[in-house]
């Protein structure tokens, strides 16, 4: 049996990733500057920390574009209600990575709209409680679930202060290549990790927000849009009392 030629191998790779063979650039540079770049070939490091700023003054009441974009990006819209399931129960059982929430200040009556999702804590309770280590935090700050070792105990869902996680309650027929999904595992927003690893600079929700309420980027890079915006506006963490140092911050809550 002959070894595959280099050319064959390159062709295979190129087809897998859908890009022409690109010159290798240092990953950090790649991530910051090139939109449709090559997939990562080195491990993620903690030189970057991904995060978001949600400007609630821009988030429009009644708009759910970020939710639909997330559903599409991560194959959540491919989920089908199991035959015989009640609509009401299914709404509570289907996975959701991002959702719209509207709040009223009890004292002032001021109303705020904002999207809620995994807050990508620096010290995530879901990671602390996971018995197998399937719930983990990547070096670049993304909190996610390794479905290969998730046993479906749902302890992380008990521990999450943000109701950010979903359990897959049914057999899944359709899934995208980038977001595998199957019955009996827990999942949540992973800041579009497939985009992170393939050189993308945005998240689906950010792209979809026509009001510019979502700014995504590297919190450790002082020149990134998200760092600049955070330096400019007063921001808060949701449940700051828990001192989780969330990667997702909000203005005007």
């Amino acid at each position: 049996m002959s070894q595959p030629t280099n050319q064959q191998r390159r062709a295979f790779l190129a087809e897998v990733t859908g890009v022409a063979a690109a010159t290798v650039v240092a990953p950090g540079v790649l991530l910051q500057s090139v939109a449709n770049a090559a997939p990562r070939d080195t491990a993620v490091t903690d030189d970057v920390r991904y995060g978001m700023l949600i400007d609630t003054t821009k988030c429009a009441d009644g708009c759910s574009d970020c939710v639909s974009a997330c559903d599409k990006e991560n194959g959540l819209d491919l989920m089908e209600k199991p035959e015989g399931a009640s609509d009401e129960l299914w709404e509570m059982q289907r996975p959701r990575w991002i959702r719209q929430v509207k709040l009223r200040n009890n004292l002032t009556g001021r109303v705020t709209s904002l999207p809620m999702m995994c807050q990508h804590c620096e010290k995530p309770p879901c990671v602390d409680v996971c018995p197998t280590g399937a719930s983990f935090r990547r070096a670049d700050g993304i909190v996610m679930v390794d479905r290969h070792t998730c046993i479906g105990c749902r302890y992380c869902m008990m521990a999450c202060p943000y109701n950010a996680r979903s359990f897959i309650h049914e057999n899944v027929q359709l899934k995208t290549t980038a977001t595998p999904r199957g019955k009996g595992c827990v999942e949540s927003c992973n800041l579009c990790v497939q985009r992170r690893d393939n050189g993308g600079t945005t998240t689906a929700c950010q792209d979809a927000c026509k009001h510019g309420a979502i700014v995504f980027g590297d919190l450790k890079d002082p020149n990134s849009a998200v760092s600049q915006a955070m330096a400019k506006y007063p921001t808060v963490q949701i449940r700051a009392d828990l001192q989780l140092n969330t990667g997702v911050r909000y203005t005007d809550v």
Partner: protein, 126 residues
């Protein structure tokens, strides 16, 4: 454990069937329509692939999920992309449909095929 894996295999096969019926209505894959059919060998010699493809994939899966490394020739997405065949109408047939690349061999060997309870069985583009 044994009964369990048999059960999951059954489930996987059923799923494959359902997936095949429900989504593409694809027929049987036609020999020679997968890109792999036209290559001499996979990312390693055939004998190695037959014996230890799962080790390559398993190693890759940990590296990808935890370290974010995607640029490699050992990804499951790569397997599916290259080995998926088309039916007479030119529709892609799920690799875990009976007799297709993955399922054909796993059925023959009586080995469970758990990948596709979660992973896409044909390329989806993203």
């Amino acid at each position: 454990m044994k009964r369990k894996s048999g059960f999951s295999l059954l489930l996987v096969l059923c799923l494959g069937l359902l997936g095949g019926l429900g989504t593409a209505q694809a027929g049987e894959g036609v020999e020679g329509t997968a890109r792999a059919d036209k290559l001499d060998a996979c990312v390693a010699p055939t004998a190695t692939m037959r014996r230890s493809h799962f080790e390559l994939i398993k190693h890759q899966r940990d590296v990808t999920v935890h370290l974010g490394i995607r640029k490699t020739d050992n990804s499951l997405a790569g397997c599916v992309d290259c080995h998926v065949r088309k039916d007479a109408q030119g529709k892609q047939v799920p690799v875990n449909a009976p007799g297709e690349f993955c399922a054909g061999c796993h059925e023959y060997a009586g080995a469970s095929l758990d990948c596709f309870t979660c992973h896409a069985t044909k390329p989806t583009g993203n």
